[in-house]
Symmetry: C2
Subunit: 153 residues, 2 copies
DNA sequence: AGAAACAGGACCGGGAAGGTACTGTTTTGG
DNA sequence: CCAAAACAGTACCTTCCCGGTCCTGTTTCT
């Protein structure tokens, strides 16, 4: 799998909607547009607001707006706002209570860290505007410099 | 998070052990070496065997061995053997019962598919030998050709 | 024949995800 | 000034899957 949570998926959808429209949108209206349950939408928007990705205005004509330009908000930032820092394995998590069964000298941890960084950087490099836009040519391209000897399965 | 499951993590550890040693290893012995519970090790090895990544010999002197060279087994293949095909979102899953709330014309699905492919290709390009080895210089490097306009958050 | 190891189920508890409800607090409009 | 509308925060609950265990075959070597 290696899947993001549904909440995160919804967050991208909501952010894309905000990117494609101007003016504040109320959470009930966004919920209606996206066919998502209203409380879930509210929860997600609040999380994004806490992360500083969207801004909210209260009152009867209030709603949510992107805090920055859609170019300046990355998919990685949205993911981190909902599910916390990206950590492919428990090793790569900063506060791992299990100090790795193999006790540090396993080469796996460093390699996982590299993979983690690569994935994280890739997601950070994709702006929301690219996701919200219709015709995206190449979002991310991967290069494996030392993979000459790696026979792909 | 965007995390692989513990079982998958263990699978990489076990496969690395197999890569660093020759001859068949019994699952109890591997469990002892890696400090993992025996039944869990057995379950993982059986899954890897079904996926054709390791081969097993039965009998009193039996055990598990890598089915191919450690160069010819990718990290992505190990992940897929345990958790099924890589699908970052439900959209990118082949058998999604929810036909996407936005009904096809959302540009998100195609973009997620690209991201999914990129991650999948990156993991497929890392051979087990690179993970098992100690000094890995650069596992995977990412390049974002059209990210010139993407201001990283 | 017996012991050791793989094979393949069924089973089960814990925890997180996903969804709901309730109660404030703020702002606009009459 | 008050009521309505919308955000803010918290607490709670249900469901599903991960992770782990056990049990019963089947195979092979000694």
């Amino acid at each position: 799998m290696l899947r993001i949570s549904k909440l995160t998926d919804y967050a991208i959808v909501l952010a894309s909607h905000l990117a494609n429209a101007e003016g504040p949108w109320s959470s009930p209206r966004l919920a209606c547009e996206t066919n998502l349950p209203k409380p879930t939408v509210a929860k997600i928007l609040k999380a994004l607001c806490r992360a500083g990705l969207v801004s909210s205005t209260r009152g009867v004509t209030g709603g949510y707006t992107l805090a920055r330009s859609a170019d300046a908000i990355s998919v990685g930032a949205l993911i981190e706002a909902i599910e916390g820092p990206i950590a492919v394995t428990e090793c790569t998590d900063d506060h791992a209570e299990t100090p790795c069964i193999l006790e540090g000298d396993c080469g796996l941890q460093a390699n996982w860290q590299r993979i983690n960084d690569a994935v994280s950087a890739a997601l950070d490099s994709i702006p929301l505007s690219a996701m919200a836009g219709r015709s995206v040519l190449t979002l991310v391209q991967l290069r494996t410099p030392d993979s000459a000897s790696a026979k792909r399965t």
